[in-house]
Amino acid sequence: MIDLHLPWLELAIVLPLIGAFCVWRLRDVEKARKWCLFFTCAAFATCLGAWQDFILVHASVAGDPWSLSSAMLGWDFFIIDELNAPLLPLASLLYLLTVLATLRTKMRRFSFTWMLITEAIVLATLSCKQPWGVIALLALGAIPPYFELLARKKPTRVYVLHMVLFVALMVLGWSLVQWQASQPEHSPWIFAPLVVAILIRSGIAPLHCWMTDLFEHASFGTALLFTTPMLGAYAAVRLLLPIAPDSVMRIIGMMALFTALYAAGMALVQREARRFFCYVLLSHSALVLVGLDTVRPIGLTGALCVWLSVGLSLAGFGLTLRLLEARHGRLSLTGYHGLYEHTPLLAICFFLTGMASVGFPGTLGFLGTELLVEGAVASYPIVGVAVVLSAALNGIALVKAYFLLFTGTRHVSSVPLEVSRREKVAVLTLAALILGGGLYPQPGVASRHHAAIELLEERGVVFPDDPIHATAERQGDIHDAAAQKEWFME
């Protein structure tokens, strides 16, 4: 495997851990926030460095030089490839912006130490391709929210039941897949535990209730950072996509499609802002899985584009809601709040990020949605119709929420509620990325197309017309499952 010029990946994982240790010892929350900001900035810079270095080395997969994990394990535990290269900076940016936009009113309730530990786990998960490594890190990542729920004296049973089931099914599922690789006959039913585990982690209905419960009881920041990197989709790409038969992918796609529509409809009837956000997120993250189901370059490219755009836009949307919550407490959606005059910037960002998530023209999500629908129509026309309908329902729900929060009789407050400079930097950064990526989408789409081709090649899809994948159209079921499994177990 080709090496990067510096050990960026391990640095990106170690830096937040060092930061967690430093912040853990501090009593002063303001000082803790500053240190946390420094370490999240450093982790973000390192992830950006990894991405740029990966582009420079012109490899399809690269690893760290002088890697500690390689020295200990004998193989590259952390790698960077076309899929995770932009996901790493995206995830670290979400953490950085969350710290940047954490107000004093929230600091005492939001643990910076746990946040830094979670960041290290998320970055490690996204850098890992080894199935057991991904499973272990996903299981590890489920622990910090549990401790927060305990610390806040909130009910934990819904979350714990789902996460225990998720981890158990993940371990069982992968063990069965490995066992099956040595058997002469293969059955798609062997994938059932793994599929259910991934459906749980991705919040696919009817296994999604842990997510609404988490948003209900955990701090908004924690719930946001646990869900927006979409690690369920990552597990699907790393564990299932290379080896699962088409029928298995289709089941996931159909359930995800149902969730996209169901969650979009549920967002319309929510009476509280966090739950509303959770359903919007569920609907959009399900769309990523719908794109994976197409198993075609255009659909998969669309899914990967939607992954980036939804990750960015809904994180921005969530952060905007969090900033509003910091000023007004939990927000009901049963009456008009009239907040526009106090925080016009938040109103603009709320609208912009919301529209970006539903693929409004000129924003990052537009082409992703277009490609996803195009790919879905090529596979099954009805899927394309359902995707468009879910986007339409989400669009209605988002504008409804905008009107409820920002319009109505002007909110009266005796304290200033304007946006601070730090918050302004956070929301403007997101706005710039959403608009910049929307107006100049070619590099992003081309990079996701490369990633889609790499993933399909791992799956055994061949592109016979030319060596640089110019045809990029799947040629039937050429995929040799046994050969793939053999490759995958190596």
Binding site: E216, H217, V269, Q270, K424
Partner: protein, 461 residues
Amino acid sequence: MPEILHGPGLFGLILLVMPFSLVLLLGLASLVGYQLGESLISRLVQLTCVVGLLAGLGMLAWMLTEGTRYVPLELGHWVEIPHFHFSLKFIFDPLSIPFMLLSFALCGVIGAFTTNYLHREPGFNRFFFCFSLFLLGMVMTSLAGTIETLFAGWELVGVSSALLVAFFQERASPVRNGLHVWTVYRISDAALLIAAVAMHHLRGEGDFAGLLGAGPWPAGHANVTHTQALVVGLLLLVAVAGKSALVPFSGWLPRAMEGPTPSSAIYYGALSVHLGAFLLLRVSPLLDVSVWLSAAVVVLGLLTAIVAALSCRAQTDIKSALSYASLTQVGLIVAEIGLGLRYLPLIHIIGHACLRTLQFLRASSVLHDYRTLENAMGVRPVARDTVGQLLTPGLKSWLYRLAIERGYFDAFLKDYIATPCLRLFTWCDSLERRWTDMLSGTPSRESDALPPSAGSLEDLS
């Protein structure tokens, strides 16, 4: 110098760059919190409209001089990957040029009118930002050479429209109506997007020339089968019905009158309400392929005209009456298109848009106008109910109910589509609540205890 900057290319670029720059300028100023002065905004809007109009006239003059009826402006691929590309292509032909000129001219007029109308209103900047989005959307839609570009412009018009209906956002009623308009627009947009993808799928590209024939409008010949034309055409017809308030979606039009009068004039009297008819004209070669599609267009247009003409007579405020009068004409225009006419509907659109803009702008002083008219005549003009005398009292009252209820279409959509859907999801929500309550062993939703409004920070302490 690049070839595109010569002759028609330069005019085309100016036409696109001016409204885009206006959106960028006003949008960025709002985003960074910089308050632009009223006079500066007004001058920027006027500059954009005047330069755009001149460039449009320049393009028309060039085309007339050269004797050409079709000028494509290809700005390359916005996105290109194997098996998919999104072309930035704009076309200048006998359909796009009049519509684009109309957009610049009427937006210039409305911009000048609004400068005084909204002087010192708190939402002055907000209005003009939405207005600039609308102008960009109209220009993009008019000149679009691909269905994707048309869709992008179509969406910009939709979102600016909904935001302007809810312009007076301190009152709940405009906001509710804004949401209603947005909901119908989203359904319309969904239909258009599906049609766009279907067209892309059929031809492997979204270029109108590929699907509807390369000849200058209206001479193109659609390269699709009868069934394909019917399916894509029906999807487009749903999009048209939503955007132009044709039945059964016509209920949103009087609701949209909650916005400021200038936006009512430009959207629902002049341009936006005609966008559906414009789309039908643009895809008219599809209508030529399928007689069933043409028949559906005629029926929808006539039905809309009849319902709107009836409803117009039962309205109690001038803007609603004007909106239904406008819709009557739009219905007739749509029927004309279905009947195979091409230039007549285009002329009808232009004439109607100009007249209706004037009427809307004079709407606020209509009593004064009537008084002046009566004083000049010396008598009060009395409307003769000639048709009413021919009807039985029972039929008259039935028609009156129909007119007052606006054809019962709103009630039908609410009772049979919106409410059952919302009830279904509310029921699902209650099921989820029971499930999580059971799993957690305690009431799982602390958000249930939230008051309807957050109160102030002092209440939270």
